[in-house]
């Protein structure tokens, strides 16, 4: 039997004694945190506060009306039915009817308003979070699972949404009812009220006992939900690999581990939170017993201080007194878990956005680029920096090819230019100004970057091409597609430019995706063009055909390209050979061939 309580159904304890002690110790801290979180939610309701005050007054009216109703019924029985005096009964019935109608009306209006208010607040929070996501640095995304982030933006916000709807009104109702019944009880019999209130310390102790456990459990639960989400997202996205290696069983096994973790913590969280109504029921019965017992004894011994009538009424009020307490503690659970979720959301909001304090916001960029002793590492623990003391200059309108072995830092150079990352040392200058002095948007809006892995949105092909410049006309889209040699294959699709690209569908090949993403770059009119392996999956004949377009595109703009094929490389003005993040050779093709260095080796092997 003792075994059952220590390891019920084989569920290992998750929250240990130390955790509970720690929770107790950090309670003050937590309260501060909770206060902070609540304050921030409050801030999101800025535009809604007047409405909120109105709802609060409605709630007070509703609570009072629901006390008045039974009171009137009592009066009807006492003053009309028992003495059998029916004069004026009709009037009081009409008043009762009015009370009931009003009660339903206020109940509806308060809920109606609250739903709107909470959903608008949630919308604002979602919107703000998404907006913030757009401002977060790339480094933030590098080390996080997509599914885990998605969990915060959906599961956690959803929990908050459900709580805001129900809990707020119930909370206020409970408090109003509590105060109301307490006053009436005090009026009826201070002594019995005092006796009834004796259960309050018991209540506080038991609720504390439970919340000390549920608090940390909710946090763990939300975290584990996030982990499970992350795992599902990865495995489903990479399903092709799972299938082709027949590793379905392994995927299921790994899933099982995470789902079990979640199951364990949910068991304990549900268990403890499920205790609350039971404990409340028990306390309810105790208070009932106290009232009946003490009241009965008082009635017998003091002769008239307490009447039977008082006991009956009081027993009913004692119930009414504990019910809002029970509701409050029930709500507490929900609120705690919602706050745990809100904290995770605010964690993202608190992550610093990409610094964007550059003052140059609308300068037309000429495209003169300078790297001065730039050093950069992706992580602090890295032994060799990815870019080491790199210095070079690209004149406005010049085109440059970056070549070098895998891991030489070619892509990194481009990412630094697009300000996805900040340099550790040294500086990058564009048109003579430090890149940090530009607003990010000033640089990015005048730069076209064709990425190594072409990403297309789940939208029509037309929309995907237009993504390069949102104001482009349909004709311009077709023009760009023609130049990128994508037009022909697009026309073979049943819906042509209106074909919706489904990310999980295989009918668009990797090479075709690259063609579309080149068209997307062509449609922008950038000062700086960055092409990272833009044609790697495109066959060489097609590549030759778009070569000309690319050359035309490069003309008059500063272009930096990473490519494999000699003919692409030959089209540029200068070639930079990178090796382990350093500049090995640089110059025109002829110069490098004469040098008979690394480039010469690469060409002639």
């Amino acid at each position: 039997m003792s075994n059952f309580f220590t390891r019920p159904f084989g569920h290992e304890r998750i929250v240990t004694k130390e955790d509970i002690v720690k929770t107790k110790q950090s309670n003050k801290n937590k309260a501060d945190n909770m206060g902070q979180t609540l304050k921030r939610i409050w801030q999101f309701m800025r535009g809604e506060r007047k409405r909120l005050y109105f709802i609060i007054s409605l709630v007070i009216v509703t609570s009072l009306l629901s006390i008045v109703g039974p009171f009137l019924v009592g009066r009807i029985v006492d003053y009309y039915f028992i003495p059998r005096a029916f004069d004026g009964l009709f009037r009081i019935l009409i008043i009762l009817l009015a009370t009931y109608v009003l009660l339903s009306l206020t109940t509806f209006i308060q809920a109606y308003l609250m739903v709107g208010l909470s959903q608008r607040t949630i919308y604002n929070l979602r919107h703000r979070l998404f907006e913030h996501m757009q401002e977060l640095p790339v480094t933030f995304y590098d080390k996080r699972q997509h599914g885990e982030l998605m969990s915060r933006m959906t599961n956690d916000i959803e929990t908050l949404s459900q709580t805001m709807n129900s809990s707020f009104i119930q909370f206020t109702t409970s408090i109003v009812t509590l105060i109301g019944t307490f006053s009436v009880m005090l009026y009826l019999s201070p002594l019995l009220t005092f006796l009834t209130a004796m259960i309050i310390p018991l209540l506080i102790i038991s609720v504390r006992f439970i919340t000390n456990r549920t608090g940390p459990l909710y946090k763990i639960r939300q975290r584990r939900t996030g982990e499970l989400n992350g795992y599902i997202e990865e495995i489903v996205s990479g399903q092709e690999i799972v299938k082709v290696f027949s590793q379905e069983d392994r995927a299921v096994e790994n899933f099982e581990v995470r789902a079990k973790n979640l199951r364990e913590v949910t068991f304990w969280a549900n268990l403890y939170s499920g205790f609350i109504p039971k404990v409340m029921n028990m306390l309810n019965n105790i208070s009932f017993t106290i009232v009946a017992g003490a009241g009965g004894i008082l009635a017998l011994t003091t002769n008239g201080l307490v009447t039977v009538g008082t006991i009956v009424v009081f027993a009913e009020y004692a119930r009414q007194f504990t019910r809002p307490l029970a509701d409050l503690s029930n709500q507490l659970n929900q609120v705690l878990s919602a706050i745990a979720g809100a904290e995770r959301v605010f964690q993202i909001l608190d992550t610093e956005a990409e610094s964007d304090d550059g003052s140059i916001t609308n300068k037309t960029i000429q495209g003169h680029i300078e790297f001065n002793n730039v050093t950069f590492s992706y992580s602090k623990t890295q032994q060799h920096p990815t870019i080491k003391n790199l210095s070079f200059e690209v004149k406005s309108g010049e085109s440059v090819a970056l070549i070098g072995a895998t891991g030489a830092g070619k892509t990194t150079v481009m990412q630094l230019l697009a300000r996805f990352y900040e340099t550790d040392q040294g500086e990058i200058r564009v048109d003579g100004e430090n890149i940090k002095d530009y607003s990010r948007s000033a640089i990015r809006s005048q730069t076209a970057f064709v990425l190594q892995d072409p990403y297309l949105f789940e939208a029509t092909i037309r929309e995907n091409i237009r993504y390069g410049r949102l104001t482009a006309t349909d004709d311009e889209v077709v023009e760009a597609a023609k130049t990128a040699n994508a037009h022909d294959f697009i026309m073979t699709l049943e819906q042509g430019y209106d074909t919706v690209l489904d990310l999980d569908e295989g009918f668009i090949s990797q090479g075709q995706k690259q063609l579309i993403s080149i068209a997307r770059a062509l449609i922008t009119d950038p000062a700086i063009l960055l092409l990272d392996e833009a044609t790697s999956s495109i066959d060489t004949i097609t590549e030759l055909k778009i070569q000309e377009s690319l050359e035309r595109l490069m003309k008059g703009r500063t272009s930096i390209i990473i490519a494999h094929r000699l003919n692409t490389i030959k089209a540029v003005d200068r070639i930079f050979v990178l090796d382990q993040g350093e500049m090995l050779e640089s110059g025109t093709e002829d110069e490098l061939l004469q040098l008979q260095g690394k480039y010469y080796d690469m060409v002639n092997q």
């Binding site: 019935l93 109940t107 809920a111 998404f130 590098d142 599902i232 549900n270 009965g296 039977v308 075709q512």
Partner: protein
């Protein structure tokens, strides 16, 4: 809903136990008023303090029993609802793992996630709540009605008159509610999908400086979610006021009729008080109903979405009987045509050719000519629309899928790695691989030295949460992963595009001695030159097949490709 709650049947005994505990609790609660009556009638009224104390002790004892029953009920319900949720989740995930790619493409990743988390949670919640209050609500309502009839049939009749109206109202709200919640879940999916796309495209969005544009689009979807949620919740919130007005109306009716009956001396005041009391209890019961209805509307919507997955077709489940063969594999296409499911255009037309064991077979062709589609038919990622594909002399549709794929090492065009260490990722090729084999494979894939240069060597984390690897490193890792499998057929889908010529030559050199048939998609003539034979695809059809020298002589298209690369050649990294 049946499909989903069938999973709870496994725990039927626990459900019974939980319900018994709930009934004990309920009974105790119902007899409690009897004892207070005793306290008054046999104690206070007759001045008997002993009786008062005795009944109080009994009351206390009984409430302890109720408390214990409640606690046990909590233990059992918490446990079994959790097990139910877990089983359901596992069933969904396992099912998804056995989807064909065609079925999988019908669901978005994000929608699968919501179904496995949010939707399961909703069905779990309903079960949890049901086991705690399900019986209470109807018992309270029916019990109160019956009691009021016993006390006074006329008053009971008037009390119950409006109940059918209420029942009908609740029924229709529940139905409508399920419908709207389904829509809400749909919008949640969309939001999730939107976020997922944004996470994947974060660099593109930043490079295009289109964050604001994305936020604008997001707002629209989020606003739709907001509006539908508001509608759904307002509908649900209307239950309580309607319930109150109907129940209070009945009460008013009872009072009205009671006053008449009282005047006619047909009823006692005590009876009226009792009926009023029962009316109030009924109200409590109906409020619980309202609660259950909201939960079950949501759960209905969710379980529909879950059933959709559990009813989707999966690929045939076969026993794994395969004995790894030392023989290099063969592949034969016989008049194969193929179009992707739900599309009209054939991407492959009447393809026939054969690949011999140990052959070094290269597939070339223009962008979109059907190369990747062609090889996806070999491991049965998709099934041919017409014609037959044969591997090792056996029609692939007769091969158990797992066995077929066991013989194949496949390196996709996009190198996908999972969160975990490098070593873990390589084990995807073969879970039971020895350490030596793993090292050997990565040496052959020309990535071992790079790995050893990382601070944590093979323990270096990669994938979504791992270190930033270059494109070439990812490609070589996924080649190594395929080699760990010791396949008899190795398929490389343009997976060496980011490798420099020297590394690539080393790779081919390392594979030279292996007993494996190689099928390689490439753009590079230099790779084709080393192949035994080259298959040239053009717009889904075979344009030419033969050795490099033969094709140079016979195929104009091949010559064109050759020349396009002769002008510059290939430099690569």
């Amino acid at each position: 809903m049946l499909t989903v709650y069938r999973y709870a049947m496994k725990y039927k005994w626990m459900i019974v136990i939980a319900l018994i505990f709930m009934l004990i609790e309920l009974v105790v609660e119902l007899i409690q008023p009897l004892f207070i009556q005793q306290v008054i009638d046999n104690g206070i009224m007759v001045n008997n303090v002993d009786n008062v104390i005795m009944y109080l002790l009994i009351m206390f004892g009984v409430s302890v029993v109720a408390f214990l029953a409640g606690i046990f009920n909590t233990y059992f319900t918490s446990h079994l609802t959790n097990m139910f949720g877990y089983d359901l989740r596992l069933a969904i995930f396992t099912r998804v793992q056995h989807f064909t790619l065609a079925t999988l493409s019908k669901f978005s990743t994000s929608s699968l996630i919501t179904r496995m988390t949010q939707d399961v949670l909703q069905t779990e919640m309903l079960l949890f709540m049901s086991l705690r209050i399900l019986f209470r609500a109807p018992l309270l309502v029916i019990g109160s009605l019956v009691m009021s009839f016993i006390v006074n049939p006329t008053l009971g009749l008037y009390l119950s008159m409006l109940t059918p109206v209420l029942a009908i109202f609740l029924f229709f709200t529940a139905r409508k509610g399920a419908e709207i919640f389904l829509r809400v879940q749909h919008w949640l999916d969309r939001i999730n999908r939107f976020i997922q796309q944004n996470l994947e495209a974060v660099r593109l969005i930043k490079a295009n400086d289109s964050g604001q544009y994305e936020t604008g689009k997001f707002s629209k979807v989020a606003a739709k979610l907001r509006d539908d949620t508001i509608f759904a919740l307002r509908l649900m919130e209307s239950i309580l006021p309607v319930l109150l007005i109907i129940m209070n109306g009945s009460l008013l009716l009872v009072l009205w009729v009671a006053s008449d009956l009282l005047q006619a001396n047909e009823v006692a005041v005590g009876e009226i008080v009792a009926v009023i009391n029962y009316a109030l209890r009924m109200q409590g019961g109906f409020s619980m109903f309202a609660f259950l209805i909201i939960a079950s509307s949501r759960a209905k919507a969710s379980s529909d979405r879950i059933s959709e997955i559990l009813h989707s077709p999966i690929s045939k489940e076969d026993k794994n009987t395969y004995e790894p063969s030392q023989q290099a594999g063969t592949v034969k296409f016989d008049n194969v045509s193929f179009k992707y499911p739900n599309t009209g255009r054939y991407v492959l037309k009447n393809i026939s050719f054969e690949i011999y064991d140990n052959e070094n077979f290269v597939i070339m062709g223009g962008t979109g000519s059907g190369k990747s589609s062609l090889i996806s038919l070999i491991p049965k990622m998709y099934e041919a629309t017409d014609g037959t594909v044969t591997v090792n002399g056996k029609n692939v549709s007769d091969w158990p899928t797992a066995d077929l794929r066991q013989t194949i090492g496949y390196v996709p065009q996009r190198a996908i790695l999972f969160t975990g260490s490098i070593y873990d990722n390589l084990l995807w090729g073969n879970l039971h691989a020895e350490e030596e084999d793993v090292f050997m494979s990565s040496e052959k894939a020309q990535i071992h030295d790079n790995i050893m240069n990382f601070d944590d060597t093979y323990d270096t984390p990669v994938g979504q949460m791992g270190v930033t690897l270059s494109g070439g490193q990812k490609q070589r890792l996924s080649i190594a992963r395929a080699l760990v499998r010791k396949p008899s057929i190795l398929i490389l889908d343009d997976s060496t595009s980011a490798l420099d010529v020297r590394t690539e030559n080393n790779l081919w050199g390392a594979l030279e001695g292996e007993n494996v048939t190689r099928i390689v998609i490439t753009q590079k003539i230099s790779t084709a030159e080393q192949a035994d034979r080259v298959l040239l695809l053009d717009d889904g059809e075979i344009s030419a097949l033969g050795s490099h020298e033969e094709l140079i002589r016979t195929s104009a298209l091949y010559r064109e490709i050759y020349e396009s690369q002769q002008k510059g050649g290939h430099i690569d990294e």
